[in-house]
Amino acid sequence: MKVCRRCLYSNLHPLGIIIDDQGICSGCRVHEEKNRLDWPKRWELLEKLVDKYRCRSGKNYDCIVPVSGARDSFFILHTVKKRLGLNPLLVTYNKHYNTAVGVRNLCRLRTKFDCDIITQVVDPDRVKRITRATFRRWGSIYWHCLAGQTSFPAQMAVKMKIPLIIWGHHQGLDQVGMFSHQDEVEMTRRHRRNHDLFRQEADALVSDHDFIKQVDVNPYYYPQDEEIAAVGIRGVYLGNYIRWDTKAQHESMIDLYDYEAIPQTRTFDTYNDVDCWLHSDLHDYIKWVKWGYGRATDHAIRELRFERFSRNEAVKVAKKYESIDPTSIEKFLEWIGITRSGFEFILNQHKRMDIWAFRNKKWQYSETWSQAHKIAFENQENGKKKGKAPLFRVRKSKLVSDQDENFILIGKGTYENPKEQKPINPLK
């Protein structure tokens, strides 16, 4: 097992990662492109690409933009509508674990940008049955979100005959350097199946044992090859053409459009997953059990690569957040209908023995894991931090219409202007 000398990723990353002879990982290598490529020129490539898809007669939308109440949706829409001058159709898959902030952000998004939106809300009973099955089989409570978020836009593109789908950044490129920005990678069925869905298509879930029928997984099907080809569907990533910096982007969206940002349980990043009770909470806790690290590590590495953290600071921050207990576990168990002991039993089956060891009556990192991280720490690359610690802004509305205590299925999303509060300093 090896750990990158520059960032903190080990080669046990779920997406796969390559650490080269200098001890630097493929993710860091691709990140170097951010300071090397001619971004104005790449913007021109993007303009040329989308220009071909403009519907000049005005009879149809120019493109589809998958959105949510978080995750750079504002920045993507700002780029698509204001800078590229396209007429998008927004599509969103309802994750069910929605926070009031997320509902408000989404309402704000479509109002401020004046866009049409189509939402898919899959029947809760169906979603719960599917989630029980995906948790049992793969230890995942997020399968339906990942499957729905990637299938719904593609299904809509086929149904409405809108070939262009515009996404934000490519997770594989950003985290582990799966692709170079210059590859201009596009959305593929393969990536979804391999990395989001545990190498199976949706119909693998159909089983009497889990009470899941064919009709239950219909919303999660990716369109057939013939449909994709007939319409000429292409999913492009803005991150290939724009120097993607999610922190800076969110901050400008707060100023321009009143985006709300709130503290999260298990990470210092207050921007990316504000719309979900579970993502930086229980889902992240499960990720930590399965893979030995959590979102705080991903975020710390991201800031480290932008030279806003030193490596030692990143280690400190990651360590601080990853052992925080999730607070939404009871909400989730009540929603899904599993007991605490049942939940723990299933979760423990997904603990990897190359990451964890039971020593001194408790679960700790294995020798291999600790050793590999120690070696990387001792041989770390000379740090290149610039400036002070990055602060993460907090901004929340006061007078609101939706409850803030539990998952919201469908909310009103009305609000009074948000107020800026004290920012989070990850190092404090």
Binding site: N11, L15, G16, I17, I18, D20, S26, R29, V30, K52, Y53, C55, R56, S57, K59, N60, K161, P163, L164, G172, V176, G177, M178, F179, S180, D183, E184, V185, E186, M187, T188, R189, R190, H191, R193, N194, H195, R199, Q224, D225, E226, E227, I228, A229, A230, V231, G232, I233, R234, G235
Partner: protein, 286 residues
């Protein structure tokens, strides 16, 4: 003759399908079986697994999982040091085996393999680079040029009686800037053995130029096939449109589309898209 083959090249390192740059830098793509499944469904003519690990068990696992997932021939190149290794690969599902190191360090064993498995099952995999405007043969295990010039190299390969030659061009690998046409042409001309050329394909034009000017039996495409959906369909459609001979699959995907020189589909007109609302899109049945 036959339509020249398009070979999907899957470079495997640590059990992962990787993108490769100059055979020096690698970038993870995911599970090789998932890539192979896509290539097969998209109508690839053949799959070549380039196995860069010394972990024999892992290589064997990759070979058996890939070959059982696809219905095209699978060549396994690398990681074979003995007839026993070769037997394991073949029982694991490999249709052909490629040798590089053993070709030069143990040619007797490779010759034995051609007798046991048949000539058609054995591939000689060699790395060619340019140095001082001459073609040189590169030994990756010594990290330097070998003593052979191109002619003596091909003679040596002929003596071993292999069925095909896999020509790798490390300088072109992952560049996406086109193939080494001069070298491929030269080697194809001086041998009767079918040649698979690999390294540098980024667009339809690169493939066309290679078949036109150098005419190898097959062209391998690596990194590029994983960059966008339906890449094989699109490359083959692009070739068909220019009139290049290519095996087009049974599937009519993209039959009524245009492809740009990059291999990506050109968007249909608004009228065509409108008419699609009244057309039935048929899935292909065997």
């Amino acid at each position: 003759m036959n339509a020249p083959r398009i070979v999907g090249t899957i470079i495997v390192r640590g059990g992962l399908h990787v993108q490769s740059l100059g055979f020096k830098q690698y970038f993870p793509l995911g599970c090789p079986v998932e890539s192979a499944k896509e290539f097969d469904r998209w109508g690839i003519d053949e799959i070549a697994l380039i196995l860069l690990d010394k972990n024999f068990k892992l290589n064997l696992k990759t070979i058996s999982e890939v070959s059982s997932a696809v219905s095209v021939p699978v060549a396994a190149v690398g990681g074979v040091r003995s007839i026993l290794d070769a037997k394991a690969y073949v029982s694991g599902g490999a249709d052909k085996i490629g040798f590089n190191y053993s070709l030069f360090k143990n040619p007797q064993m490779v010759h034995e393999a051609t007798k046991f498995f048949g000539q058609q099952c054995i591939i000689a995999s060699i790395d060619i680079v340019h140095y001082k405007s001459k073609l040189q043969h590169w030994n990756y295990w010594e990290n330097k040029f070998s003593q052979y010039n191109i002619t003596s190299l091909i003679d040596k390969i002929k003596q071993v009686n292999v069925g095909e030659i896999l020509l790798n061009f490390p300088e072109k690998d992952g560049s996406g800037t086109g193939m080494d046409l001069v070298a491929i042409k030269k080697i194809v001309k001086i041998t009767q053995i079918p040649v698979i050329a690999l390294g540098g394909v980024g667009s339809v034009k690169h493939i066309v130029n290679c078949f036109k000017s150098a005419n190898p039996s097959a062209i391998g495409i690596g990194n590029r096939l994983s960059h966008f959906e339906h890449s094989v369909y699109l490359f083959k459609k692009g070739l068909k449109d220019i009139g290049a001979p290519v095996r087009t699959g049974v599937n009519p995907c993209y039959d009524d589309s245009m492809i740009d020189h990059d291999g990506r589909p050109i968007n249909k007109s608004e009228k065509e898209l409108e008419e699609l609302n009244f057309q039935r899109i048929e899935p292909q049945m065997p």
